[in-house]
Amino acid sequence: MTFARLRSLGFWSLVVAILTYMTLPTLVVLMTSVNPTEILAFPPEGVSFQWYEKALTYPDFQRAFKNGLIVTSLASTLALIVGSAFAWLVYRYSFRGRGVLEAVLWSPLIIPHFTLGFGFLLLGGAFKLQQGYVMIVLAHMVLVMPFVTRAVYVSLATIDPNLARAAANLGASPFHVLTRIELPLVLPGMAGGWLIAAVLSLTEFTASLYVTGSRTQTLPVAMYNYIREYADPTVSAISAMLIITTTLIMFIADRAFGLRRVLAIDTH
């Protein structure tokens, strides 16, 4: 065997090892979700979709899913509005305290979610908002804001500044430059940012554990509570559904809005 072949073999072994390592836990969960018996056994002993049925009809999950949708849609939309405005501010103007503002905005990437969740729990106590939607939405909004802001900022930064000049040169007032040129060009970034925020919010667990109550719990919290009491594959089934839904959303978003570009994964 030549050295080149050996090197190629080594490379592909590494790729396979990484892929296996990254996807194995998910695969295990997906496989147990079709197990016909009540035990979370691996490997599965057959194929059955009864746990999917149970997951879809379990009242706690139904309510938690609805709660999640409410929280996610409100939190991501608010984060989109505030985050876009902020991205615009940072992109357009340089002002005193801009650095501090930026640091505060990025901070949810550094500060652990349980710290933020705990903080919101204490705040909720002080303002008599414990376990209410307001507190949950606020917490989620803070958590997803850096992602939305980044998405919008990146798509703003990729706009050729001469486009605004060209539009002005052709007779467009600053208002028309914003509505006819800048907004349409940044819209995919906003949509992409909103979707990322929505997916993150929908699956957020750590901070949600602190700020939700039994009536307001979101899906990941409900799943956690379920698995503390029962050890059957229902949770595997609901995990599988969440993964598939999220993958679909991301796939569509990538096709429709060029998510790669928004997240600056792709550079062209």
């Binding site: 001469n162 000049r165 060209a166 040169n169 007779g171 349409p184 060009l185």
Partner: protein
């Protein structure tokens, strides 16, 4: 249309100045641009030509001075109220619109009736040979087509002035030559007063009615292309436009109809005795184009024959540029048709050169 500075001014710059902090971008430039004139701002990068264009378009505010278009002072007017068309170096086509919408943008901003917009856009689409491309996205166009859309978008609003900011620099060489011809045709057809910014002297010489040579924010010379090439006003213009041999500083001697340059280590060279205000005994520099230097004939004699050694040949197909190291003059370039010189005078061989100083530009040295 080859209007000149005698025609009524379409654009007038009055002591326009732009400072960036302590740096001077444009230093008190005054210019009159005639109706329908094709004027080029030429200079190296950083010379202030794009800054000047930016001020005319209204993207930059002058530190001092005023800009008058068609008799109206527009110095303080917002860019979107100026009625000045511009083509950007990067074209700046709107990527979310197709060709038609790009071209129609300016007319829509002017709130023209739909039918009129459609008719006008069709007119320029035809004029710019873009038939069949109206529905295309701009990303599906080639560089040359994008260039035409950018031009169409700028001229469809029937601007008072058309500004072109290095529009050809993004194109490859062949396309650039073709677009030069098209620009020239377009100017002839529309008769638009045009201000063209470039650092390419070839483009400037071939397209312009007049050229403004700029350096370090200052105007060096304003002249027609031929005048600029033949009688550059100073050393910068002489070396920036085309190739030129700058001879060392010499003493100018004049006696009636006879004039001479006295160069230490070389001797006397016969110089043209023109009424150019040069004073007997003053220090001057002679600038001589390579086409005015040629190998001397075998039995040729005269005061302007110098001898040297061939340093290099640069074969260019139609002609050859030969660099000769001449005692006391340094490297002198000669430009001769064909390639015979390469065989006749190999590198390292001695060669006698005839300097046609009658064609030289003599400039007093400060």
């Amino acid at each position: 249309m080859t209007a000149t500075s005698q025609a009524p001014a379409a654009v007038e710059l009055v002591r326009v100045r732009k400072e960036f902090g302590s740096a001077v971008g444009v230093a008190d430039v005054s210019l009159k641009i005639g109706q329908g004139e094709f004027l080029t701002l030429l200079g190296p990068s950083g010379c202030g030509k794009s800054t000047l264009l930016g001020m005319i378009a209204g993207f930059l505010t002058p530190t001092a001075g005023k800009i008058v278009v068609d008799g109206v002072d527009i110095t303080e007017v917002e860019p979107y109220r100026r009625d000045i068309g511009m083509v950007f170096q990067s074209y700046a086509l709107f990527p979310h619109m197709n060709v038609f919408d790009n071209i129609a943008f300016g007319l829509r901003m002017r709130k023209l009736p739909k039918a009129e917009i459609a008719a006008e856009v069709r007119r320029v689409i035809e004029m710019m040979k873009l038939d069949g491309f109206a529905e295309r996205r701009v990303s599906q166009l080639s560089g040359g087509q994008q260039q035409r859309v950018a031009l169409a978008r700028a001229i469809v609003i029937r601007p008072k002035v058309l500004l072109l900011d290095e529009p050809l620099s993004a194109l490859d060489k062949n396309l650039r030559a073709q677009m030069q011809v098209e620009l020239s045709e377009l100017h002839r057809k529309t008769g638009l007063t045009t201000i063209f910014v470039t650092h390419d002297q070839g483009e400037a010489l071939s397209l312009s009615d007049r050229i403004v040579v700029m350096n370090r924010g200052e105007v060096q010379q304003v002249a027609r292309p031929i005048e600029l090439y033949r009688t550059p006003a100073n050393g910068f213009v002489a070396s920036f436009i085309g190739e030129i041999n700058a001879l060392p500083v010499a003493r100018y001697e004049r006696d009636g109809r006879e004039a001479a340059l006295v160069l230490p280590g070389v001797g006397r060279l016969a110089a043209p005795a023109r009424d150019d205000g040069l004073i007997h005994g003053s220090a001057v520099r002679a600038f001589l184009r390579p086409e005015h230097v040629r190998p001397a004939l075998p039995d040729e004699a005269g005061p302007n024959i110098v001898s040297g050694v061939v340093a290099a040949h640069i074969y260019q197909g139609s002609h050859t540029i030969t660099r000769v190291e001449v005692d006391g003059l340094g490297l002198i370039e000669t430009r001769v048709t064909g390639a015979d010189i390469v065989g006749a005078h190999p590198v390292g061989a001695p060669i006698a050169l005839m300097l046609d100083l009658g064609e030289a530009v003599l400039l007093a040295t400060p």
